[in-house]
Symmetry: C2
Subunit: 390 residues, 2 copies
């Protein structure tokens, strides 16, 4: 009898995963004109879905990913069961993004390096990777490509578009680029634009990649090298901004790897070990050109840009309802940055809920299972579901 | 008559500068044993003095510099009148560090690149620059070399030791290494040790330098190159941490250099222009090995290390009085880090004054002329002067 509790937990865990998923490919042969004026004649998007699209196709949710994310958000692959989706804690049966109610669509953004057409893809016109020839992309351009994917899936309007960080920016932009195609926007740990400090960090990361002798102006593929040193530095720096000062202090403090000072330049403090490991791991699989593109998309995102810097005017065309969530120790996109989103929405009399979650984990909080955060997500999305579930 | 005001200002400006100064060299032939166990058989320190040492040598102040500082703190050189000392606003006749009252000593720290023996100096035993052979140095080691300089000048006890940032750490260490040799310690924008986040930023900076192919394991001198890319990145990153988010927003915001997006990787935002300029300038004159040494000295500084992490015990041997100053927007060494210094001093019943200055300029505030900050410095040092000036 004493095992019945454990048994229930095991059942719950199993039933909590969406289970086996598989990636699909969508091919688009209509040229995409970028905001920069560049044209991509054709491209492919890799995407996944989970849950079931209801009869009137009103229960679809789009998940937008952040800098290093991709389409694999939940479940696992039949041939790779350890490869669990990056937001599996949030998405699944009975989870806040409940796949018993919603049809969840996720994709790898254009310019990415997880299967969608990007700098490392073969340009059919040259037979070589795009490399430096891949156009600089903006959130607007992603939106255009995501809307085409929605068309392909027969989804006229998303019940919700959800994203954290750069993903939150895409979610916000959905309400502006396609006001009629999204009923709810959930923007988590996000901002209405980058500050000078945010851009500065991105510029250091980019400078590390651009200055790596192995970058070869973006065409490193043909030299059979990768600018691993630059990418590693970029990721190390990124990690500092994802974590709070407090959580770094708690996790690593001044802990020494060998217990004493070694008076040299090898790894000495545990935090160095962590950062270098994260940097090396990232540099072993992520594409340097994609990293550059993602940081530029972040820099450019600025809905107020075309409205003389006035966010009130920028959000005037939004029709959706909004949930905005921030985390107290997030210094990359602090709660104040989320309030900058809330204010113009209130100004425009949108329905907007705002939650500031007390969390020690900094910007990374948006990826973590935090009871208050998950309760807010669940409650909001249960209401969204009640709009179409009888 | 209308010019009399201007005339007075001109007179005041002239009388406000200490005027012409010149660097001196001190040679030490007694071997210095570093905390690491390494031994430097002989070394030179370049230093400057201003003001007049009084008869009983009780009016001497030592200025300790931070990461990129040096001995030239005030005045200018006869053959280079534009080369004004880095703390000339603070030090001079009638200034907070009043050279009419005090005899000010400043030096370039051992391991530096402004004239004192460091990695770029010629090792007399090899006829080549020390390079990678220069020992990793700690604040303790600097203190030992500074005490020898004091001996040479006949200064048994400093009226005060003053420093900002890493300089503040040296000032604090004076009260611990040589409790009888310092009456007042002024630690500005400093901390009792680095946090994991501080170390993390240093490690990214070091990784940029160590990974630069032009670094050649520290012996780049013999290859006639400098690891400019790495040093540039390190400085760019440093600058982000010296400035507050607010001051960056005020100074640069999202200002575009050409007024519009260029969709490429050249300089686009003004903040990028500023950072890259600062990085290039620094890389053109600063020694990469010195940069590494300075960041390591920062990482290692931890007076509590030998006392089981207990700052109360660490500061038990301090005899000096203290002035601790922090700046509200300094996120590199926040006011809380200064309070971490104040608490163990109070615990040990030291006389300690603490001022938290409201300033928008982040960590860089300690170098700036801010009325409240300067008033506090002046008032405190006037009291110090009253101990010996009749």
């Amino acid at each position: 009898m004493q095992f019945s509790g454990l048994y229930k937990v095991l059942i719950l865990t199993a039933s909590n995963s969406i289970g086996i998923v598989s990636a699909k490919r969508a091919k688009f042969d209509t040229p995409l004109v970028f905001r920069s004026g560049a044209v991509l004649p054709r491209y492919e998007l890799v995407y996944e879905t989970c849950g079931t699209l209801n009869a009137d196709k009103s229960n679809a949710i789009l998940i937008c990913h952040a800098l290093s994310g991709h389409h694999h958000v939940a479940g696992y692959y039949a041939d790779d069961p350890k490869n669990i989706g990056w937001w599996d804690n949030m998405i699944g049966p009975g989870k806040p993004v409940d796949t018993d109610k919603f049809f969840v669509v996720s994709l790898n953004n254009l310019g990415g390096c997880h299967g969608s057409t990007g700098p490392s893809s073969i340009n059919p016109e040259t037979g070589q990777p795009y490399g430096s020839g891949f156009p600089v992309i903006t959130v607007d351009d992603w939106l255009a490509s995501q809307a085409r994917l929605a068309d392909l899936l027969g989804i006229r309007q998303f019940a919700a578009v959800i994203g954290g960080s750069l993903g939150g920016m895409q979610a916000l932009q959905w309400s502006l680029s396609f006001p009629g195609r999204v009923r709810h926007v959930l923007a988590i740990a996000s901002a209405p634009h980058l500050t000078a400090q945010n851009i500065a960090f991105n510029d250091v990361a980019r400078s590390a990649i651009l200055g790596d002798p192995d970058f070869h102006g973006g065409d490193f593929y043909r030299h059979n090298v990768v600018p691993a040193r630059g990418l590693r530095l970029a990721r190390m720096l990124g990690h500092i901004t994802y974590l709070s000062d407090d959580v770094m202090a708690d996790k690593f403090g001044r802990e020494l790897r060998s217990g004493k000072f070694s008076y040299g330049y090898d790894i000495e403090f545990e935090i160095e070990s962590y950062l270098r490991y994260q940097g090396d791991k990232f540099a072993s699989y992520f594409d340097a050109n994609t990293y550059l593109l993602m940081t530029k998309a972040l820099d450019y995102f600025d809905p107020a840009h075309d409205f003389g810097g006035d966010l009130n005017r920028a959000f005037a065309r939004a029709k959706a309802d909004f949930l905005v969530i921030s985390f107290t120790t997030d210094w990359r996109f602090s709660p104040e940055r989320s309030r900058e989103i809330v204010r113009p929405l209130l100004h425009n009399r949108r329905n907007v809920s705002y939650a500031e979650i007390t969390s020690t984990h900094g910007h990374d909080s948006f990826l973590m299972e935090h009871p208050h955060y998950f309760d807010v997500m669940r409650a909001y999305l249960d209401n969204v579901a009640s709009e179409f579930v009888k």
